[in-house]
Symmetry: D2
Subunit: 367 residues, 4 copies
């Protein structure tokens, strides 16, 4: 069951609410003898954290992680790793006026309908703050993958913000970390900057499309039929706050293709993985990795916390209006980039361990 | 783990290969005292089965289901229900020439890379024939939902075939079952017919976009954070053969929306579920159902079995070409419609049982 | 969840009722390229099957297994293996008089209380016939272990039948398969024979204590804290019909020992596993195998189907009496021996795969 | 997988080592709106904690629990409950001399063999300190059960300590909490006191047998075949440190009984649960609760930390001797009593929720 867990061998359970004492991740099944420490995790958390620039939430949290278990002398021991992040800047007063009203587009109403009780101080459990726990868990996955599969590289970036998209002919991987939008297109980064400034000024918000690529994945990861690598990635990405769609490779556009256009032709190669004429498959066939780049995209809806009053109802069902003041990102999709990377890392590590358990690790591609 | 299982309480394990003696579904966790028999399952299977018209594979399988366990005197007992479908029309000779070549776009190469052994008679385990087992399991879910939630209605339809789409202003729910394409738009049905005839004649194939709607779902289904209803639906749909993308509600288009456009306003209503100004959320907020229609779309890529020769390699890595003759659908997406419905039914039933277990069943929406 | 499944990577789901059309096991997660066929499975099933001699149930079932999936050209493919055994000798008339009465000591009343519906033809799902599915699944586990861990040996035997016990000083492993009671003590075998003849003549039944040993298990199997090897073995054995107690190593007698008596002293050895002064631990410390013999015992209660009338109630709650005629074993514990071996094999294979997934396979014992 | 988790809906993950910064329990799936606070948990922890009298370890830990998530305004919210207990009295110096030697009877050697890395400061992850996390999780289960099943009562007690047993004719439930040994027999309590004083003085240790009873359990809990209530209880108890055997009802003695002696006769009753002539079944038939008392016993081996030198080997495989000074209980079984109660509570709550999910809650016993 495990409503708050994902993964099979590398199994992550996140816990905590945005305005409780702390949040964290309990990670079970990490292989032993993986070098890890708080600084490594911290550096990844810092990439996601709010308050970094004018385009992300002004909530200033140090987001300081503590490792409470599972690590000894700088190495994982194989026991569960507990990572805790204190909530130091809760300011629960910001939220007190929404205790009785449901914010449209937020999970306030559904948590109430489901549980009959709700931590109304911010999003509570449904807050995007939960994604910090994913990034912490992902840090561990990244370090384990470094040991198990050193040539693996995972990187995410923004391909679209609202009505503005990158131009893939200008794709520059180095540029991704050199602008606050994770844009691989330097010109799009400038466009995003102006565009988002306007959105922010108007008290509005806007959606985004994020792409995450895994390069250097061995062929053979993924376990058909219901633990397919793409099915697991779809669930992993869809579980991120505000995500409404997930694509692999050609994705939704596959619907418009013909068989001739779609099937990636295969050619001999020197390496143990053949060469492909294209990658419409996004690196996955029949739920199993081909050895090509794994390419996943997901759409993040605009945050529903905006300054324009929206019509809603109270807990007792009466009509009212609401403005969500708080401290919010005009484009939450930006901060979803490191979260998407973390989910990719966790999913791949888990499938690496699964494959090793079920099959061992023999490459049969040239037998 | 359970590579071949999905669901938590209502747990489906499918088994079998396209050219082995039989395929089937082992369903555990079905509530007891649900009326079921082979005729009910058969009528659902018949909607999916090949050979029904010139637009689907000419493989003629009676697809006759047998219930081997878990049902007594016409009712489920709470024990696992084993449903078996014999493979009567295997014709394995059709496939013998592909024993040594990998069909591009198919899972031949990845199964080989992963397992080092492959049932080369057709798709083996990765064949779309596996989806018959899903439909059988879904039949059971439909019957259980009828008892537990009589007003629930699930229906799927084609919204796009290759470059051709339906016009939603002509949406006629009654029409869906009156044309071989599950088109809710009578005019689009005619267009699809001509379009697909051309595709078929040219030995090509084309993709499709399917939408599945669940109407009458109670508020409160879905279990955050990692058993979110939308995350589970995304995995369920992505696990279907040839699916490359999944959307909920506004889906990928959310990326282009502003906060004002996206957040569905809420209004008082007479019923226990409020009225919403729109349904961009696709009936799910924070992973929990709102009581609005749940709307899921998924894209099915064109089958890679086409008559145009494609370049590929042999098991020993040498360059070659392949033409896939066999008996194949020019648009496999058509037959994915009842499969999508089945996955929706299984997922909703499972979440219904999960909610009942974790929370009981009290509606707090108007407390 | 998976009420009818056990194991994590090597995952067995059994299905079927004693008087339905068939029973079987759906095995997911078996490693690929394991040689297997129906004859191998059949030879293990034949060790368990009833009707072999006057001391076991006279129900004569050929118990003929069919492999329906997951095996190609004599090897497992990594896909689920479906094994089906038809019920050919149901004789449901034998049981018709018990449709309305609950047999004391049987699960008739609890199935009724839980499910509100009951397959009254024999034990239905709770029949010991279900254990044939375990033996079929175990056959697969045995073959996989042969490949993965050739020096592993698993064998079970009776150590006690009712008031009669073996004398361990006469332990002769070869004798186990040379008498119908799996007795390792030739003299005890004769005693059991006379004793059971008396029990059978009086229409009574008697319990038994079975020991299962795994020799050659590598050190390091088992995953603390809640997937301890001993905890998994305890659940595996306790899940067998009629089992009421499970012990590891010194077992319940540990309660009477002192620390000096109990802790097995450790000595240097030539091999990668040290020498131990004793094996009170039963080969498991902290839930992990030590490399010593794993020793598990379980007690099987006497079957409750006896010829002496017992007081009971009807479904409507009225007092009545019942005699269970049917065809029953005077000591069901005898047939539990191969079942215990099968559960040991399944559990060890699963932990082997788990360990390989989580840790890989490096022996650190002499680092 | 989830090596460090147990339960299906009510799912407990414990984490932490004896000498790390903290230990704790992450509890997912607790029903919402259960009243809970730190004082309630603390009072249960205090029953287990060391340093209470001369018969338990002199390690003095306040064992102060903090709730970090999942509770709002004194009630559970349905989100994961994180409970943290700091390790304030680690004194790791006590253990520094055992960094290189394996203590016989402890898990030092197997953790090393499995993981190749070991937190040698005390038992690390295998320390009995982990059981504090179980008691914390159990507190939550107890409170949830109070709401869901108010008449349920769970209580554990010592039935045997080394060679000394209670006399069941003197059973006095009230006395259990009035002596430091959880003895229900006042005279045995005195005997235990003298006996243990001798053991302690000699620097030795002794095992114990604990019985845990659940009274007022409804009929119908437990999910055959592989989630049987008794199988789950066996695993739950066997997973407790130092447990080597588990029995239900007549337990191992069933092996000696005849069918007439064993099968509990059934009689009409006024209540919805019939009257039984005896309870050899320990309240469970076919894995499902009968409504009688559930009776489980488990044997705890003597701690292997004793003052007599024992022969062992070093990490490099050389012969040596070891004396375990530390602060240890002469009879760890005493402190296992509240742990066994906690495991019973967690298991029953989980099965209550499972039953509610799978079946709903209708009692059919008198239909």
């Amino acid at each position: 069951m495990s409503f708050n867990s994902f993964g099979r061998i590398f199994r992550v359970t996140t816990w905590g609410e945005s305005h409780g004492p702390a949040i964290g991740a309990t990670v079970d099944g990490c292989p032993p003898r993986i070098p890890i420490n708080e600084d490594i995790i911290q550096s990844r958390l810092d990439r996601r954290k709010p308050g970094q620039n004018k385009f992300t939430s002004q909530r200033r949290e140090p987001d300081k992680v503590q490792i409470l278990s599972g690590v000894f002398d700088g190495y994982t021991t194989g026991a569960p790793v507990q990572m805790l992040i204190e909530n130091t800047d809760q300011r629960s007063r910001d939220y007190s006026d929404i205790a009785d009203k449901f914010r449209p587009g937020h999970a306030d109403i559904t948590y109430w309908q489901k549980y009959g009780i709700r931590d109304y101080r911010g999003g509570g459990r449904s807050s995007a703050r939960e994604t910090a726990s994913r990034v912490a868990a992902g840090s561990l996955a990244f370090e384990a993958l470094k040991v198990l599969n050193p040539k693996l590289e995972i990187f995410g970036y923004l391909v679209q913000m609202g009505t503005q998209s990158i131009d893939r002919t200008r794709f520059d991987k180095q540029h991704i970390t050199q602008n606050p939008f994770w844009s691989p297109d330097p010109i799009a980064a400038d466009i995003f900057s102006d565009y988002l400034a306007t959105i922010r000024k108007s008290g509005s918000s806007v959606g985004a499309l994020i792409e995450v690529v895994a390069h250097g994945v061995p062929a053979g990861l993924g376990a058909p039929i219901y633990a397919k690598l793409d099915a697991d990635l779809a669930a992993a990405m869809m579980s991120i706050n505000a995500v409404k769609g997930v694509e692999i490779g050609a994705g939704l556009a596959s619907a418009t293709l013909t068989g001739e256009e779609n099937a990636d032709e295969i050619f001999p190669s020197e390496s143990d993985i053949p060469t492909y004429g294209s990658n419409n498959a996004g690196g996955i066939l029949g739920g199993i990795s081909t050895g090509q780049d794994i390419v996943v995209r997901f759409a993040v809806k605009p945050t529903s916390s905006i300054l324009t009053p929206r019509r809603t109802i109270t807990k007792s069902g009466e009509a009212t209006e609401i403005i969500t003041k708080g401290r919010h990102d005009p484009c939450v999709g930006i901060r979803a980039v490191p979260v998407g990377e973390a989910m990719m890392a966790c999913t791949l590590l888990d499938h690496y361990l699964l494959h090793r358990g079920h099959i061992g690790w023999t490459d049969h591609s040239n037998q």
